[in-house]
């Protein structure tokens, strides 16, 4: 057997650990999940990302066995799980509400799954103690869930779901109930635990930042289908559609007409203002095609003096500034007839009250040929 790759999905012919094949789920006339297929590999921390009602939770519940698919099959570690009830699946779930049993102590909550499997009492004790140590709650074993803080409950839920050493751990919005500071800290804790246990995680989230930080790969869902599956950077830098470009981060979208090709770049013309830009693209495009130019706000340089080394340059007037501390977001009115969003780090500490760029300043905007991308839909 060859050494396991850290990026099995990049390899040709790697064996998937979870294989979702042509799954459809209907509730009456409503199609929650629409004929989707997906391979997830061992040890992945896979993110299912989408807005509410996109079908991500239904998919997760089908993996857990709470919903059975209308058609299609689910294979986990070589075994067909499609018709297997939840209590016989080698899969555990961490619920969004945590679903801790309120009438049981923390220890009993964690021990619950082991007792159902008839694990010997001494072993239950040891494994519960190990789990409590892992989530740093060793002193809280005798408490009831209601006597814990939100963050502690979240850790108990994680320990309870991991104690059975499942092949797959499903996490439904694992961080949604925590405040921002705790959420960031817990993100790293989750990644750490995933790394140590080697369990394959499937995380459902509506928070794109959370998905980006946590996941090895992300599947972006909308209306029951996958819109794009890929590594976080791939999805961010090469979004497949306008929807994804705007859903993951933000993007300035300009409708353009394709012109002549030179080297690996196309000459394009902004439809509204006829302004010309150059954009590199490895797609084969025909002159006259109408596409959308997508440009991330942080890929545009903003300055009060003309910029030397940028292929694409326009001028504009700053209409709005959102100062966020480490960065500022500017909304710049341009001769294109559109307002572009630009972000820039606040590298220089302003002297006095004035900032480097102020409201109504005339500014120069510039970006490189390979900073923007062309999207078909």
């Amino acid at each position: 057997m060859t050494q396991e790759s850290a990026y099995p999905w990049r390899e040709e012919g790697a064996t998937p650990f979870i294989s979702i094949r042509n799954i459809t789920k209907r509730f009456g006339n409503f199609i929650a999940v629409d004929d989707i297929s997906l391979d997830i590999y061992k040890g992945e921390l896979f993110g299912l990302l989408g807005g509410s009602g996109c079908g991500k939770t239904t998919l997760l519940r089908m993996l857990a066995g709470f919903e059975s698919p209308t058609s299609g099959s689910i294979i986990i570690d070589g075994a067909d799980m499609t018709q297997v009830p939840p209590y016989e699946r080698p899969v555990n779930m961490m619920f969004q509400s945590y679903a801790l049993f309120p009438h049981m102590s923390v220890e009993k909550n964690i021990a619950y799954g082991l007792k159902r499997d008839g694990v010997a009492r001494d072993e239950v004790k040891d494994r519960v103690a190990d789990m409590l140590a892992m989530v740093e709650l060793s002193d809280f074993g005798k408490r009831k869930p209601r006597q814990l803080s939100g963050g502690q409950r979240q850790r108990v839920a994680l320990a309870r779901a991991l104690v059975k050493r499942p092949k797959v751990l499903l996490l439904d919005e694992p961080l949604a109930a925590l405040d921002k500071r705790l959420r960031e800290q817990t993100q790293f804790e989750l990644m750490n635990i995933q790394d140590r246990t080697g369990v394959t995680f499937v995380v459902v989230t509506h928070d794109q930042e959370e998905a980006m930080t946590l996941s090895t790969r992300i599947a972006v869902m909308d209306a029951g289908r996958f819109m794009q599956i890929g590594e976080p950077a791939e999805i961010y830098e090469n979004p497949a559609t306008k929807y994804i470009a705007n859903f993951i981060g933000s993007a300035n979208l300009l409708p353009v007409t394709i012109g002549a090709k030179s080297n690996a770049a196309y000459e394009v013309q902004h439809v509204l203002s006829q302004t010309a830009f150059t954009v590199s693209s490895d797609q084969t495009l025909n002159a006259g095609d109408e596409l959308t130019l997508a440009l991330r706000p942080e890929k545009i340089l903003i300055d009060k003096s003309p910029l030397a080394d940028y292929e694409n340059q326009i001028t504009g007037i700053v209409r709005e500034i959102a100062y966020l501390g480490k960065i500022s977001t500017y909304r710049v009115e341009t001769p294109l007839g559109v307002t572009l969003e630009v972000t820039a780090p606040n590298q220089v500490r302003p002297k006095g009250t004035g900032h480097r760029i102020e409201w109504d300043d005339e500014v120069y905007l510039g970006w490189n040929t390979d900073s923007a991308i062309l999207l078909k839909d």
């Binding site: 857990a64 066995g65 709470f66 009830p85 939840p86 209590y87 016989e88 899969v91 555990n92 779930m93 619920f95 969004q96 509400s97 679903a99 801790l100 049993f101 309120p102 009438h103 619950y112 799954g113 159902r116 499997d117 309870r160 779901a161 059975k164």
Partner: protein, 304 residues
């Protein structure tokens, strides 16, 4: 000027006034009658009007003498009829409580699990019988269970039986009547309790390897225990003292304490013994009542 003073007074005191009214209500309509009954139970029976001796006797010397007798209570203990009737009432009430629980629990569960309007229709059907008089509904059961009644006629028409079977004026009829009448009192507290139950808890149990039965006994049942207890006490307490159902459906064949009480008052005109029967019943029921209040208080604490 006086108006504004009154207004100020009302404003500063309205909380105690609002809280005070129900207390006065309970004092007048609960506590006072209770003490009257207690007083009569300690008197002696007389052929007079009212038919009992006075608590305070103003003798010839002008000094009052206190007439207290516990003879009535002693009599209840000595005559085995009363003890037997108390025990029989408790037995019938207990069996009916268990039957209500066995029927009501799945019903409450089904209502909680029903979706949208179905749920409210089912709930309405549980409450609907309260819109007609309790007495009328018991009379309706007489019609159903009588020798020439609906049920017997139907069974004879089917050919299951050749001549009517005795349904009315039997222990069976009393059970049917009590279970029927008190079932909503079991279902409603159970429903209120189950509605609060997070379904993801049952899913979590299944997810952790509990088969449906194991999940029910380890998660659902313990979490619905307060509802079970509340419903059981709401059925058990009034069923023990039930009078109308054993009287109308049980005839003379079923001894329950409510009937004894009625007979002592109306047939024997022995008010003191009747009062003693009532006080003794109250003492028998004090334990479950206290239990009920404890459960309610615990539920209220948990709810907040």
């Amino acid at each position: 000027m006086s108006g504004s003073t009154l207004g100020n007074w009302l404003q500063s005191r309205w909380q105690s006034i609002v809280a005070g009214i129900p207390f006065i209500w309970l004092l007048v309509f609960f506590l006072v009658p209770f003490f009257i009954v207690l007083k009569i139970s300690l008197a002696e029976s007389l052929i007079a009007s009212p038919p009992f001796s006075k608590l305070l006797d103003w003798g010839d010397g002008g000094l009052p003498s206190l007439n207290i007798s516990i003879d009535n209570y002693a009599y209840l203990w000595e005559d085995s009829l009363y003890v037997r009737t108390y025990l029989n009432s408790i037995k019938i009430a207990l069996i009916c409580t268990v039957l209500c629980l066995l029927i009501g629990y799945p019903m409450a569960y089904a209502i909680v699990r029903a979706q949208g309007t179905t749920r409210y229709i089912l709930l309405l059907l549980i409450i609907l019988p309260f819109w007609t008089s309790f007495l009328l509904r018991v009379y309706a059961w007489m019609g159903l269970l009588a020798d020439q009644g609906t049920l017997n006629s139907f069974l004879m028409w089917l050919g299951v039986i050749e001549k009517p079977i005795r349904l009315l004026y039997s222990q069976f009829a009393v059970y049917v009547g009590i279970v029927y009448s008190y079932l909503p009192f079991m279902i409603l507290p159970l429903y209120a309790n189950m509605e609060k139950l997070d379904t993801s808890l049952q899913e979590a149990a299944a997810d952790l390897g509990a088969k449906p039965m194991a999940g029910f006994f380890t998660v659902t049942l313990p979490l619905t225990a307060p509802g079970i207890l509340a419903g059981s006490l709401l059925v058990f307490i009034p069923a023990t003292g039930e009078f109308v159902i054993p009287d109308l459906l049980g005839g003379g064949n079923v001894l329950m304490i409510g009937r004894i009480l009625f007979n002592e008052f109306n047939s024997n005109h022995d008010w003191p013994v009747a009062s003693a029967v009532a006080i003794a019943l109250l003492i028998v029921l004090v334990v479950p009542m206290m239990l009920y209040h404890k459960v309610q208080a615990a539920e209220a604490r948990r709810g907040t």
